[in-house]
């Protein structure tokens, strides 16, 4: 009994995908919702450190959730410190409830272009990519759900892929930050590391953030 259950759980896998709207969980329309919740619990338990924290999107297609099913999903995700940002990001393409101006603004918001210095005590945030023409000073902070590109020196804190995108990158002309973070992975600049000249890129290799010449 136990064995067969495990077997069926193994053959069914839920998919997480990094869409441009954010990290999205796909729940198929077939089979019962309770079945998928069980699988989700198992998957998240196994990948405990992988998907920790943050708001995600959930794609459920044509499936209609009862309030209690919705509640169950919310509680399960909360166990892994996740929240639901919204449902069915794909559907928006088919039916867009927003007036045209708002659509346009949303589009522009995907890349935030900032000209100037991000100073100590300042925090720049965007749900999308961030491009900075200027330096990020010590004590300054930049957080993006996408990539961070700095046409200047990075000496503060940078967090790319803040919604969990492990493919996110940080690029700067020089990187000497107090702290780098991509998705849920942290790295600190080793003590005494000399500031190198020329563009550098930080991305995830294996389980670690590596900084290399671009």
């Amino acid at each position: 009994m136990l064995l067969s259950a495990t077997k069926s759980l193994l053959s069914d896998q839920l998919v997480f995908k990094g869409l441009k709207q954010g990290l999205t969980l796909f729940i198929p329309e077939e089979k019962s919702f309770a079945h998928w919740l069980e699988i989700l619990d198992l998957q998240l338990k196994q990948a405990k450190n992988f998907f920790q924290g943050g708001a995600i999107l959930v794609e459920i297609g044509e499936r209609k959730l009862s309030p209690s099913e919705h509640g169950d999903l919310k509680r399960l995700l909360a166990k892994y410190r996740m929240t639901i940002k919204s449902f069915n990001p794909l559907e928006k393409k088919r039916f867009n409830p927003w007036p045209r101006e708002i659509q346009k603004k949303e589009k522009q918001a995907e890349v935030l272009f900032f000209k100037g210095t991000v100073r100590s005590g300042q925090r720049l945030e965007n749900d999308g990519h961030i491009v900075i023409k200027g330096d990020v000073n010590p004590g300054g902070e930049v957080v993006a759900s996408g990539d961070i590109i700095i046409l200047g020196a990075l000496r503060g804190i940078a967090h790319a892929g803040a919604r969990g995108n492990l493919q996110a990158e940080i690029i700067a002309l020089t990187i000497s930050p107090v702290q780098l973070r991509i998705a849920h992975i942290f790295s600190r600049t080793p003590e005494g590391r000399e500031e190198r000249q020329g563009p550098e890129i930080a991305h995830i290799k294996g389980e670690k953030i590596v900084v290399q010449r671009l």
């Binding site: 100590s120 005590g121 330096d135 000073n137």
Partner: protein, 269 residues
């Protein structure tokens, strides 16, 4: 035309705000400008001592805000030597909460009608005292010294000023005074250089003041160093006054070879 309202601020304490206010105030008075200096460092006042104007104090800025004196004019202390130079002292017995940004704005709005320059000496820190000092100003001079924590704090202060500037369109771009520079130490790479600091803070440089023991002597005498014809720091303050007045004055060469770099920096950004 209303006068210019300039706050001198730093974040970190003890970097030379009061010294800068005293010297710029005196220098502008020397140029026949009508100047009032406001000490907003309530509880820790010392602009009056540095200016040698302590003995003239009857009322202070808190008295004025609370309506204790009959007129704004009555609360001002006049300099004995320069009749066009005035001081509105801080209260020594109260604390920074004794006055609000709105009250400061009212006081300054009145003073700027009568004076060419209103110079505000800001306390250290980023709390209420800073809010009070900054509220009414439309220009900011950020003072720092070549030490990492001071530069860090200056950066934070510039950010706060720029935030305030977003809401108050009268506020202008801040400018930098780099104090206590020791060219000998910079040369040996024991101290941050002008270009390091300028690059980090990325604002226009108003002046560079060298480390000068004459400042300490002047401070103790209650007579700003700008009145001392033989002081390098005094000369640097005179240049700052001229730049404030719109003149283009080259930066002093503390060291051969750097001067061109200072110049480029000023014009490059």
């Amino acid at each position: 035309m209303a006068g210019r309202v300039i706050v001198v601020t730093s974040g970190k304490g003890g970097v030379g705000k009061t010294t800068t206010v005293a010297n710029i105030g005196t220098g502008l008075a020397l140029q026949q400008k009508k100047v009032v200096m406001i000490d907003t460092d309530i509880g820790l006042r010392n602009l009056d001592v540095v200016m040698g104007m302590e003995s003239g104090i009857i009322y202070d800025v808190v008295d004025l805000a609370e309506g204790e004196c009959r007129s704004t004019r009555q609360s001002l202390v006049r300099n004995r030597r320069f009749k066009n130079l005035f001081l509105l002292p801080a209260s020594q017995t109260r604390n920074k909460d004794a006055i609000t940004p709105e009250q400061m704005r009212e006081i300054v709005d009145e003073l700027k009608e009568e004076f060419d320059y209103v110079l505000i000496d800001c306390p250290a820190g980023i709390e209420r005292g800073f809010d009070n000092a900054v509220a009414a100003a439309s220009e900011a001079i950020v003072v720092t010294i070549p030490e990492v924590p001071a530069v860090r704090d200056a950066d934070r202060i510039i950010g706060l000023w720029l935030n305030a500037k977003e809401k108050d369109k009268e506020k202008k771009e801040p400018v930098l005074v780099l104090n206590r520079l020791r060219p000998d130490m910079v040369r040996k790479e024991e101290m941050l250089g002008v270009d390091d600091i300028n690059h980090t803070l990325a604002i226009k440089l108003l002046g560079i003041i060298p480390e000068d023991e004459e400042i300490i002597i002047a401070t103790n005498k209650g007579e700003p160093v700008i009145l001392n014809q033989h002081s390098r720091a005094g000369e640097a303050f005179k240049n700052i006054v001229r730049r404030l007045e719109g003149e283009t004055v080259p930066f002093m060469s503390f060291d051969t070879g750097i001067i061109g770099r200072f110049w480029n920096m000023l014009h490059g950004k």
